[in-house]
Amino acid sequence: MEHHSNIVPWELISKIRRFTINYAKVNEDGTLNYEDFENKISSRTKLISLSHVSNFSGIINDVKRIGKVAHENGALMFVDGAQSVPHMPVDVRDLDADFMAFSGHKMLGPTGIGVLYGKKHMLEMMAPFQGGGEMIKDVVFNQKTGRIGIDWNDTPWKFEAGTPNICGSVALMEAIKYLENIGMSEILKYEKNLTEYAMKTMQNCCSKLLLYGTSDHSLKCGIMPFGIAGLSSHDIALFLDNYGIMIRSGFHCAQPLHQIFKLQSSARASFYIYNTRTEIDRFAGVLKEIEQF
């Protein structure tokens, strides 16, 4: 159920470090198959990497449960929080995530910046992955040996080589403050209400509507993959575009999940704090119109 960004980098590095990747199954409704996942974790497992929330279906994974099994087997857990951190309260300590990543552009912040959280003792064990200014304490030339001796900076600076994205980090911080001021619990509640309303409204309006993934909105964030019988996702998106309604069409960087659902592609509506019920009414009205085509 992963975004390509939680598949492709691991595939790349597995060729260099020569490790095997095992993929857990998903159920027919798009939820994670926890039994299969847990059965695949063993004492040989080094790292588990999973999304907190699916970017295709909006399904929220029980990462705490997976993390417990991972740690019992001596494995680490990396959580892709790109779709959860912007939409709900997330406590890395409560989840016991060893690492978590999220992106600025998914949470009212700028593109080109994100956050990688790591447990401090893990980060301190790790070597820098790139070199440059700021990530060192000393770079000393030894006159006798003709060699350079380098002393790394403290965490987190040892991972932040060169001039950082200052504008991006200031802007992301402002976005975080803005969201925290609203309250992450309030955001989650609002999105869940909107999603429930959208599901009902769309189902009432459109006879040819196909909703993908679980219909249990309690398991979901504000993401809704759908289709209309007889139309491609791109037809739907371009038609909505004429009404100033922007959705995503295609694979949404989750092609394996589309293979599992046997879908050529899908349309995806995603809701956030700036969307309203009135907009959903308008959206459903346009869907009703296009299904006449």
Binding site: S232, L238, F239, N242, F251
Partner: protein, 89 residues
């Protein structure tokens, strides 16, 4: 000399097993281009003046009033370029 590039801003591949191409017309030329396309191609159906299903040289495609068109089952980029040339020039 007028070329396809005078009308077309960009061509992108859609994702999906049945790969298609989305042709985006240049904003300042889109009305002229749409008029030419609709005049030359056979209209199969349309809805609300927004979406038009058309056929030209045995190829079905969908044109949108926003200035985008989706072509499927066109052999390759060269064939699509030739088709666009026949439609637009």
């Amino acid at each position: 000399m007028v070329t396809v590039e005078d009308y077309v801003a960009r061509i992108e591949e859609t994702c999906g097993e049945e790969k298609g191409s989305v042709v985006t017309l240049k904003y300042n030329k889109k009305d002229e281009a749409i008029a030419k396309i609709i005049k030359k191609a056979k209209l199969k159906k349309s809805l609300s003046g927004i979406i038009f299903e058309l056929e030209f040289q045995g190829i079905s495609f969908r044109m949108f009033s926003s200035g985008k068109a989706i072509f499927k089952n066109v052999k390759n980029k060269e064939s699509l370029h030739d088709l666009l040339a026949a439609l637009l020039l």
